[in-house]
Symmetry: C2
Subunit: 337 residues, 2 copies
Amino acid sequence: MTNRQITLKKRPVGMPTPDDFEMATSPVPVPQDGQVLRRTLYLSLDPYMRGRMSDARSYAPPVSLSAVMVGHTVSEVVESRHPAFQPGDLVAGYDGWQEYACSAGQDIRKIDPSLPPTTAIGVLGMPGLTAYVGLVDIGQPKPGETVVVSAASGAVGSIVGQLAKIRDCRAVGIAGSTEKCRYAIDGLGFDACVNYKTDDLVAALRAACPAGIDVYFENVGGAVLAAALRLINRGARIPLCGMISEYNATNPPPGPNLRPILANRATVRGFIVSDHADRMGAFLQECAPLVRDGRLRYREDIVDGLEAAPRALIGLFEGRNFGKLIVRVSPEPGHRP
Amino acid sequence: MTNRQITLKKRPVGMPTPDDFEMATSPVPVPQDGQVLRRTLYLSLDPYMRGRMSDARSYAPPVSLSAVMVGHTVSEVVESRHPAFQPGDLVAGYDGWQEYACSAGQDIRKIDPSLPPTTAIGVLGMPGLTAYVGLVDIGQPKPGETVVVSAASGAVGSIVGQLAKIRDCRAVGIAGSTEKCRYAIDGLGFDACVNYKTDDLVAALRAACPAGIDVYFENVGGAVLAAALRLINRGARIPLCGMISEYNATNPPPGPNLRPILANRATVRGFIVSDHADRMGAFLQECAPLVRDGRLRYREDIVDGLEAAPRALIGLFEGRNFGKLIVRVSPEPGHRP
């Protein structure tokens, strides 16, 4: 039995291309005592992966050349020599871009079988925790304040806006198409959403935020960040979560002028979700019930087959996905032909 | 008796010129019941004054055209109809660019006559409190950490470095001449100081900060800020106090790329010292004894005569001053001819 894997063939210069990846095969591992073999059902594709493809200094080491690309996964246990796991169990892990993985079991956790399995890598996984930590812990929104989030229809942004609404804030999104803006308002309950591609961004944002911006949750960087800074209020908080618009730049572009940060006594704080794993319990306690009863909504953009992953990741940087981008690597147990 | 005053004649475009100011005269006010008339001895010149000359939106309202320029002052009480003040008392206030001022007494405070009066507008005044709040409250330096401060020989920077040393940090300055760097090291006890005009700034800063930067106290903005960001450590704190290099720009220049803030989970926080008046007590309690016994050193650049103020302020933006810039408006009582 073979394990198909996608490895990093070469480090991209600028935007990744399909040639930067390579499909490899290896034998499916045989679990040793204490180990768990699982089959990947779903692979999460996320912006941070661009950083792992590069050897520039960052917060995590790069993927080595010829190594399997990293990524969060939902899997089904195939064979277990670990007492805590049984064949058929659904688990979340960080198994990467491959069909099978095998390890000692500390790096997987069983997921709630009463919820759709993809939620474990989406709304109730890393992206959801990112939204929660960035908004709640760093943004510290107060009722009545205005919260603006970029990439508003995406995996993180969509949750930021909904959690802001739940905290009685005005939630304003920024997204890259009329359709995405429509979805943020009608599908997710945002108060307003600005299309950065067609609107005069500063004017549109000003109209959407008549009382200014108290929390700006940043996912994209570049011109969108510069526009938002022009509208921040005194004491504004700016959780810096991502800068996807810049991840493929071959040289770091200049940033926004920081005078508004000074004049408004604002705080910009960068954060990386993996530092905040201790908040997973509080996050799930609040958000799992909201997902179960439909009050916290999510949208997934699922592509089929491991071989589709490279082009789908490239599309993420072009804004082509609409919702949390996920690769269906193997069919779910109940849906096997 | 006439009161000479310098008023704002027109709003500067870019760097101020002497023509933006005008010398005016008015009668010396006669104190009414409860009021205090005082003669200005010293006027503090500070970078924030450029903001007050402009009508761009900022944290404080602009000086009106034809109004007296604002500024912190040390004065001698000439006539008092207020029970708390007697002729001869030395007081600190915000009387602006003029020889006499008169008001009800809430806006002046008596200063410690055992210390040089200029310290009340320098090392123990607003610049000192700025250094204290920015370093201690926002920078939160821990023993062994590296603290970098720009404009290191200036009113604020010189105190930041010395307070960092007192907290057992490595103190590294950035300044604009060999002489200023020499003074920071030999005169103030900094561990190192980099001349941003002649050194390869990133390389020199890297050499001066072998363990990276934990606290970067920002006074200047521009290229210096961009260089410092390249060397920050995980969890770095960046008190944003001033951006003097940009105050005369007619359009806001771009800022630094913020990827290092994200990757290092750093915090940038803008602050305005007037928000932190409640810290004056703690600041003086620590720092007044240090000034008295010579452990907290300061350097003043005193120019003579109110009429010298406009050119001296312009020189501040050109880095021509060396130490806290102060105008001697009238001779001290003990030094009268």
